[in-house]
């Protein structure tokens, strides 16, 4: 275990929003107690098969979380969705203290596809999800983590060509570490992620995006909504690789604090001078009295004004109307009671 803990890096300021040592100790404890089990995966609306391959971790798997997952992954499943646009639901359950499972998601639909991923175990879950999406596909990935022990979600994808747009909605009532790896090679990806941290949860989303080739476009926008006494953190690094040409990198983080805390670290690494665009931003957003007054004078009551405000925040950055509307509805359904409060 010591070698795993050695990979924990430090930083000039706040070290870690979720303590990786505590997570590693939890897994170690589960291992000693013989309580590392294979989770039960139930899938609705998609074809599923056990995957024979387990080589998904080449390259960027250097965090404590990923290394632990790699060590303890008990099974990997292929989930294939496609044909007509639609929806699939994946339920992950486990009675063990710690479980690790891998999912390969293959999306062959060119329309909007919604994948719901529900983490229901009270114990700690480690989930690695690789997404292989058709060019031009639009995907809404909805992750819901109920109350339970600290968990980990790894989201990896690679896109070789053409344009894709996707939205990710992470809703968590537990401590959840999310690591996302995105790579575009002469292709474009536009991603909007909304993180809803509920109760006393801590949700830490870390993105590593790489842009290679000619004209790659990688646009990542994240909206943090921290409710109650929760903490929402978004950070990551977008890299314009050496030799890439005319790339476009945009990394934006916005935080809407509805009682909770927010941490933001949008990082850029530009290793070439041949970039068309490389920018990032981070800001907190709030509906102030001036905006409320402005909207009230146009006939909107505070509730409607708040809804309009959140709608605008969620939609920003997404060009596909169906995808953004679906995401907006999902977010508003969860945030509305808090806005009214």
């Amino acid at each position: 275990m010591k070698s795993l803990l050695q990979v924990v890096g430090d930083s000039p300021t706040i070290k870690h929003y979720i303590n990786p040592y505590e997570y590693a100790r939890l897994v170690e404890e589960a291992s000693r107690a013989g309580s590392i089990g294979e989770p039960v995966v139930r899938v609705e609306g998609a074809r599923v098969a056990q995957s024979p391959t387990r080589d998904e971790y080449a390259g960027d798997c250097s965090s404590v979380y990923c290394l632990l997952h790699k060590r303890y992954e008990s099974a990997r499943y292929d989930i294939e969705v496609g044909g007509a646009p639609g929806k699939a639901v994946v339920e992950v359950n486990s009675g063990s203290l710690f479980s690790a499972v891998g999912l390969n998601l293959v999306v062959s639909s060119s329309g909007l596809y919604v994948l719901e991923l529900n983490l229901n175990s009270k114990g700690s879950l480690s989930l690695s999800l690789t997404v292989d999406a058709e060019p031009g596909s639009r995907l809404l990935l909805r992750v819901k983590a109920g109350e339970g022990l600290a968990s980990y979600l790894r989201l990896a994808s690679g896109l070789g060509c053409c344009a894709s747009e996707r939205a990710v909605l992470v809703e968590s009532s537990r401590v959840l570490r999310v690591e996302e790896l995105v790579s575009v090679d002469s292709a474009s990806l536009n991603e909007k992620a909304v993180v809803l941290a509920l109760g006393r949860s801590v949700v830490d989303v870390d993105v590593l995006g790489r842009a290679r080739g000619v004209g790659p476009a990688l646009h990542v926008r994240q909206l943090l909504v921290s409710l109650g006494e929760s903490t929402a953190a978004a950070r990551g690094t977008l890299v314009a690789e050496e030799g890439s040409k005319e790339g476009s990198l945009v990394y934006g983080i916005e935080a809407l604090q509805l009682g909770g805390l927010a941490f933001m670290q949008p990082r850029l690494e530009v290793r070439t001078n041949n970039v068309a665009e490389a920018r990032h931003y981070a800001r907190n957003v709030k509906l102030g009295t001036e905006q409320l007054f402005y909207l009230a004078s146009r006939g909107l009551d505070p509730r409607e004004a708040s809804m309009l405000f959140v709608r605008g925040l969620v939609k920003e950055g997404l060009s596909d109307a169906a995808l953004s509307n679906t995401l907006v509805e999902e977010v508003l359904r969860r945030v509305a009671p808090h806005l009214e409060a």
Partner: protein, 467 residues
């Protein structure tokens, strides 16, 4: 006002010769630290502080987030304290000719005569010139070498020394406190507005040497001060190491501007630890022109501790050649209605690397606070790189915080457009660089703007000059 560009001529000198009276060499150890303390005849409390810092240094791990400092071997820095064979002078003519000549080349006597209220120059590890004009004394301003302040004003020094930037902050801060020597102590009494800037100038004359000066500035309630920090070194064959520290304590309603023109030669590894505490209604301004050195790591920081305190940081860094500038600015909003602004510009060329590392933190209770951070990088060729790592921590929801950054490149389309209108390629680059830095320069007082503009011009001389 006539400003000279300090240090550039010295870059071309092959040797700067002067004698030293005391040299303390060897590895960083308890006996070495005690020897430095003994040679300064320090009081017991300072000796103990050094030893505590040394213990911390020995136990603290090297920061992992600075990969390029893993290459630094501190054991190679053999001379950790050097006292030049010079008595402290208040008149230039009292300095030995070879030392005076260095400062004349740097234009310091002229600058002191024309526009500075006070000047301290540190050669290696000790102050060799301390000039304080009569009007400054009459105002009650104290400006003395740090060692003298420890002896003469122990209560005042104890109250502030290492309180703003403690040695427990990181390994190199601890190293600094264990080995510190030289530097300046400035105290501005209540309500006193110093009409002209004061300056401290640091010169590192030898290779394989460490310089650990400490500057402590205390601005009492309602006072005002502009402090200029200059740094230079001749071209050395091997590396030298600078680990300086600046602590500023701005009492309520005071204003402190701290201006750095860092122009170390290309062999100097430069750690500069800078932090200020601003009390109620105080204003702290950092202006950082980071031009020279092999590696620079500096993040001027302000803790806004009193209600309505403000800070502004304006940073300009240039990495021309295979040099690294890891700079940024940090602000902690720890009181209501505090505000901060950061503007950072960096230019990288010929394989240089620029890193912006910033922090904005709004603590719980700092309601109505405002922060805006803006950073831009200009990359002039494919060999160079630019990284930006901003951190925003919001522990209070009633705040207005924004960060934006972008990386620009020298666009071949722009070059073609301007060349088709009769400009040569190097003139186009000059125009682009000049336009890029203009935002920073126009925010500075005229004198600093002229000085930095000239430095930029010289740095990009190979492109045909700028402006």
């Amino acid at each position: 006002m006539g400003f000279d560009i300090r240090g550039f001529e010295l870059e071309e000198l092959t040797g700067v010769e002067y004698r030293s009276r005391v040299e303390i060499t060897g590895r960083v150890s308890r006996s070495l630290v005690e020897e430095i303390s003994r040679s300064k005849k320090e009081p017991e409390w300072m000796r103990r502080l050094r030893l505590r810092a040394l213990e911390y240094f020995e136990e603290a791990p090297a920061p992992q987030w600075l990969p390029y400092i893993q290459r630094i071997d501190l054991d190679e820095i053999t001379t950790l304290y050097t006292k030049p064979d010079v008595e402290v002078a208040s008149d230039w003519s009292d300095l030995p000719e070879e030392v005076r000549r260095i400062y004349e080349r740097l234009g310091l006597p002229e600058a002191y005569a024309r526009y500075l209220a006070g000047l301290t120059t540190v050669l290696d590890s000790e102050s060799v010139f301390v000039g304080v004009k009569d009007f400054l004394r009459r105002l009650g301003v104290v400006m003395v070498p740090m060692e003298e302040a420890v002896q003469k004003y122990p209560d005042l020094v104890k109250k502030y020394f290492s309180r703003v930037f403690p040695y427990t902050d990181h390994k190199f801060a601890a190293l600094h406190y264990a080995l510190w020597s030289g530097g300046v102590f400035v105290y501005v009494p209540r309500g006193v507005r110093v009409p002209y800037p004061v300056e401290a100038f640091f010169f590192l004359g030898r290779e394989m040497e460490g310089q650990f000066e400490h500057s402590l500035i205390v601005a009492d309630e309602g006072s005002e001060l502009v402090f200029i920090e200059g740094c230079s070194a001749p071209r050395l064959r091997r590396e030298s190491f600078h680990d300086g520290m600046v602590e500023i304590y701005a009492h309520p309603s005071s204003r402190v501007s701290f201006v750095t023109v860092q122009n170390w030669s290309r062999n100097v590894i430069n750690f500069n630890n800078k932090r200020a505490v601003a009390e109620e209604g105080a204003f702290v301004e950092w202006v950082e022109g980071s031009i020279g050195s092999k590696i620079t790591v500096t993040y001027p920081s302000t803790v806004l501790r009193g209600e309505g305190a403000k800070t502004v940081s304006t940073l300009l860094s240039i990495s021309n050649g295979g040099y690294i500038k890891d700079t940024g600015s940090k602000v902690i909003h720890a009181a209501p209605r505090t505000s901060s602004r950061v503007l950072s510009k960096s230019i990288v060329a010929n394989g240089g690397l620029s890193v912006y590392r910033g922090l904005t933190q709004v603590n719980k209770g700092a309601v109505g606070s405002f922060s805006h951070v803006e950073c831009e990088s200009l990359i002039l060729d494919e060999k160079s790189g630019s990284y930006t790592y901003p951190i925003v921590h919001l522990l209070e929801r009633d705040a207005d915080v924004g960060h934006e950054a972008s990386t620009l490149r020298l666009s071949e389309d722009q070059v073609f457009y301007l060349m088709s209108r009769g400009l040569k390629r190097n003139e186009v680059i000059s125009l682009v660089v000049n336009g890029f830095v203009r935002d920073v320069l126009r925010k500075l007082p005229f004198e600093f703007a002229s000085m930095l503009k000239r430095v930029v011009e010289l740095e990009f001389e190979e492109y045909g000059g700028v402006g």
